[in-house]
C-alpha cells in the first residue's frame, strides 16, 4: 500500500472527521482527526491495515494553538509507512477517549500521557499512576511547558501520601514482592507475583523508580547537538542506538540525510554494539541458569570487541560518535583488518557455542515451553525485537524501515516459531552471527566521501517533525522529534524497546514457577545491575518472609541442577 492510497481510504471512511494530512517525508504521514473518531481510526488502522502500535506522544501546544496534541504513532511494517494519528484536545479540559480497550499495547503509553501531561484517557481499564512517584502531588504535570526544568513540585499533603493502589491478590494466593529493585531487570522495578504454591497466577507491576526526565531536559535545556550525547546515556548497553535514532530523526525533521559514508559508519557501530549486547546477554542468561562457564567464556569473547570499539571511537562503551548531520569519527581503511580480525574470531567461537547450546538437553529442558508468549498475544501487546521474533513475528526495523545503511546492505531477519524462552535464546544466538556477516559486508561496500553533511540548515524552522525507529539489540527504539525555537526541539519523545516488552510480562510468567521467573524475565534481555531483595508476604496472615537475590538465583539454579541429575 502507498501512503496516497492509505490517505484516500481513510478519507473515505472518516470524511470530514479527518482534519488535515501532512506527509513531509515519503512514508511518514500525520493525520489529524477529530478527537471523537480517534478510537475508531486507531482500530481501523490496526485491524484493516495491519498497523502496529508504537507509542503515544503528548505535546503541549497550548501556547501556539490552545490545545494538547495526542499523537498515536503506528507503523505499517509491510509498507515502510509510519502513521501518526493526531487528536487535538482543548487545553482547559484535556481528555481523550482511550484506545487501550481496543489496542492493549497502548496501556502504558496512555497512562504515561495522564501522568506527564494531565490528558485524561477516558475509559482506560487501568488508569493508575505509571511514572509519577506515589507522593507526587496531583495536578502537577511535569512535561507541560508551564512546569520549568528544575522546578521542584510542591510537597504533597497527606492525601497524596496514600499507598499505591496495588492490585489485590486473587483469592487463595500469596503475594511475592520482588523489588523495588529487581535482580534481573535493568531498571529498579517492583513486581508483585500472586502465587499459588510455586505457581505464578498473576502479577502487578510498579516501575519507573529511576525516571530521569531526559525528555524534559531535551525540550527545555539542551540544544540539538547536545542531545545525542545525553541520548547516549539513556541506556548503558544500547546507548549508541539512542544517539543514532535521535540523529536520524532530527535529520529527517530538518529535511536532509547524513552522508552515505556516515550512515555506513553508524550501521557498523550499531552492529558492533549489538554483538556486544548479545554476548553480554548470553553470559547473563547462562549465569541465571547456573552455567557460569558460559558467562566467563562469552565475556572473554566480548572483551576484544570492547577494545576494538575503544580504538575506533575513543571509548569502550559510550562511543560519542553521533552528531546531527553525521558522525564525528571516521573508520579509516587501516582499521578494517582490526575489525575483521575481531569479528572473525567471534564468529568462529560463537558457532561452536551455538552448536553446544542447541545440543544441550539440560538447557532445552529449562527453556523449551517455558515463558510462553503465543504469536497472537505477542502481536496484541506489540512486543518488539527478539521477544517478538522468538514468537515467530517477522518484525525488524532494519528490514521494515531501513535506516543508516540497511537500505543498501540488507540484514536478514531471524525468527523462531518456539514462542518460548528457547525461541528467544536461539534468535539472539543466530542474530549474533548475522551481525558479523553484516559488518563484513558493510566494510566491503563502504563508500568514500564526507562523514558530516554540509546540508545542515542555518536556521531550523519550528513545527517540522520526524519519526524513526532503530533496531536495538532487544527490540526497536523509536524517537519522535518536533522542532521548536531556541535551537532545540519542542518535543523529543523516546521509547526504548523494554517499554513495549515489559508489558508482555504478566502473560509470559502466568502459570510458571517462581524459579522460572528470572530466566523468563531474562529472556527479554535485561541487565543484571540491580541486586536487591524479595519479600514473600502471606496474603492471609500478613506474615512476611524475606528472600534475597541470592536465594532467588539459587532457586533458579537449583531447578537446573535437578534437571541435570535426572
Amino acid at each position: 500500500m502507498t501512503t496516497a492510497e492509505l490517505i484516500r481510504r481513510l478519507r473515505e471512511s472518516f470524511g470530514p472527521a479527518i482534519r488535515s494530512v501532512a506527509e513531509p517525508v515519503a512514508g511518514k504521514v500525520r493525520v489529524a482527526v477529530a478527537p471523537e473518531v480517534v478510537v475508531r481510526a486507531a482500530k481501523a488502522l490496526t485491524q484493516e491495515y495491519d498497523a502496529r502500535f508504537l507509542i503515544t506522544a503528548g505535546i503541549d501546544s497550548r501556547e501556539e494553538r490552545g490545545c494538547f496534541d495526542v499523537d498515536h504513532i503506528f507503523s505499517l511494517d509491510n509498507d515502510n509507512i509510519f502513521v501518526i494519528l493526531r487528536a487535538s484536545v482543548p487545553g482547559d479540559s484535556p481528555k481523550v477517549a482511550a484506545i487501550t480497550p481496543e489496542i492493549p499495547a497502548a496501556g502504558w503509553a496512555e497512562r504515561e500521557l495522564q501522568d506527564l501531561f494531565g490528558v485524561k484517557a477516558e475509559g482506560h481499564p487501568d488508569p493508575r499512576r505509571l511514572i509519577l512517584p506515589d507522593d507526587w502531588p496531583d495536578g502537577v504535570y511535569p512535561l507541560r511547558k508551564d512546569v520549568k526544568y528544575g522546578d521542584w513540585p510542591p510537597v504533597g499533603d497527606e492525601t497524596t501520601d496514600a499507598p499505591y493502589p496495588f492490585k489485590q491478590a486473587p483469592e487463595g494466593t500469596s503475594t511475592v514482592v520482588v523489588g523495588p529493585f529487581f535482580p534481573v531487570l535493568e531498571e529498579p522495578v517492583q513486581l508483585r507475583l500472586f502465587v499459588d504454591g510455586e505457581r505464578v497466577v498473576d502479577c502487578d507491576y510498579r516501575g519507573f523508580y529511576n525516571h530521569r526526565g531526559i525528555e524534559k531536559m531535551g525540550d527545555s535545556e539542551l540544544s540539538y547537538n547536545e542531545i545525542p550525547f545525553i541520548a547516549e546515556r539513556i541506556c548503558g548497553i544500547c546507548g549508541f542506538i539512542h544517539s543514532s535514532c535521535y540523529c536520524e530523526t532530527a535529520e529527517e525533521a530538518m529535511g536532509f540525510r547524513a552522508p552515505r559514508r556516515a550512515r555506513y559508519i553508524r550501521g557498523i557501530m550499531l552492529e558492533l554494539e549489538r554483538l556486544e549486547s548479545h554476548l553480554l546477554w548470553t553470559g547473563i542468561a547462562g549465569h541465571i541458569l547456573g552455567f557460569d562457564t558460559v558467562l566467563m567464556q562469552t565475556w572473554r569473547m566480548r572483551e576484544p570487541l570492547m577494545w576494538l570499539c575503544e580504538k575506533i571511537s575513543g571509548n569502550r562503551k559510550t562511543y560519542g560518535m553521533n552528531i546531527v548531520g553525521g558522525v564525528r569519527r571516521d573508520i579509516p581503511k587501516e582499521l578494517h583488518p582490526d575489525i575483521l580480525g575481531v569479528v572473525d574470531k567471534i564468529e568462529q567461537e560463537w558457532s561452536q557455542l551455538v552448536n553446544a547450546v542447541e545440543g544441550d538437553t539440560t538447557l532445552r529442558a529449562r527453556l523449551v515451553g517455558v515463558g510462553m508468549l503465543p504469536e497472537a498475544t505477542a502481536r496484541a501487546i506489540a512486543v518488539v525485537g527478539p521477544t517478538a521474533r522468538g514468537s515467530d513475528l517477522h518484525i525488524d526495523a532494519r528490514a521494515d524501515h531501513p535506516y543508516a545503511a540497511y537500505d543498501e546492505v540488507p540484514a536478514k531477519v531471524i525468527t523462531h516459531p518456539g514462542c518460548d524462552n528457547w525461541g528467544r535464546v536461539l534468535v539472539r544466538l543466530l542474530e549474533t552471527l548475522e551481525s558479523v556477516r553484516w559488518i563484513r559486508e558493510a566494510l566491503k561496500q563502504m563508500p568514500d566521501g564526507p562523514i558530516l553533511s554540509d546540508e545542515i540548515p542555518e536556521e531550523i524552522p519550528s513545527g517540522q517533525w520526524g519519526a524513526c525507529t532503530i533496531e536495538a539489540p532487544r527490540g526497536e527504539a523509536i524517537h519522535y522529534v518536533l522542532t521548536g525555537g531556541d535551537n532545540r526541539p519542542a518535543r523529543w519523545r523516546v521509547r526504548a524497546p523494554t517499554y513495549a516488552n515489559l508489558q508482555a510480562l504478566p502473560s509470559m510468567i502466568k502459570n510458571e514457577t517462581i524459579a522460572d521467573v528470572p530466566i523468563t524475565l531474562g529472556s527479554m534481555d535485561p541487565c543484571f545491575s540491580c541486586t536487591e531483595r524479595v519479600e514473600v508476604i502471606n496474603a492471609r496472615s500478613g506474615e512476611s518472609d524475606v528472600i534475597n537475590h541470592e536465594e532467588l538465583l539459587a532457586r533458579s539454579r537449583a531447578a537446573t541442577e535437578r534437571l541435570r541429575r535426572r
Partner: protein, 150 residues
C-alpha cells in the same frame, strides 16, 4: 552430564589465561582515546566556546571583574565526549589517555583558568569582533538563540 562438564573444561583450557596483571602492569588505551581533559592555560583566550557545547554543562564561565574572566572545569561531571576539544579555536584543551581518575579529593577534578581580557580604554568592555568566538567554525556549533552570549 560428565561429558558436558568435560566439554566445558576443554573450552576453558583452550581459551587459556586472558586476565591481565592490571594494575601492576599499566594498560595503555589504544587509538584516539578520550580520557581526562588537560587544559593549557597559556593558550586559552576565554572565548567560552567550550562552555557553550558541553552537554552536561560542567564548564562554567564567570567575569568577576571587567577585565578578568574565569573558566572553571568541574570534571567530576564530565562525560568525556570531547566536544570542547573539538570546538576550542586555540586547541587549548586535549583529551589525554588518563583514565584512572578515582580520587578522594574532588579538587583534583577541577581546573581553573583565569584570563585577562583586553578591554577598551573608553567604555571598559572587551574588544568587539573579530573575537575568537568568530573562529568557532566547527560545523554544528551554534550558540543557543536568545541566550546571553558570554
Amino acid at each position: 552430564m560428565i561429558i558436558s562438564k568435560l566439554k566445558e573444561a576443554l573450552i576453558c583450557f583452550k581459551a587459556g589465561r586472558v586476565t591481565l596483571p592490571y594494575p601492576f602492569q599499566p594498560h595503555e588505551p589504544e587509538g584516539d582515546f578520550r580520557g581526562q581533559l588537560v587544559v593549557d592555560v597559556e593558550k586559552c583566550v576565554g572565548c567560552g566556546g567550550c562552555a557553550e557545547v558541553c552537554p552536561p554543562r560542567c564548564i562554567e564561565i564567570s567575569d568577576p571583574s571587567h577585565d578578568k574572566r574565569v573558566i572553571e572545569f568541574f570534571l567530576e561531571r564530565c562525560t568525556y565526549c570531547a566536544r570542547c576539544v573539538e570546538v576550542c579555536p586555540e586547541d587549548a584543551i586535549t583529551a589525554s589517555k588518563e583514565y584512572e581518575t578515582a580520587t578522594n579529593d574532588r579538587n583534583d577534578m577541577h581546573i581553573r583558568v583565569e584570563v585577562f581580557m583586553s578591554t577598551c580604554r573608553r567604555c571598559g568592555r572587551c574588544y568587539e569582533p573579530p573575537t575568537p568566538l568568530d573562529r568557532l567554525t566547527v560545523t554544528g556549533f551554534r550558540p543557543p538563540v536568545g541566550e546571553e552570549q558570554p
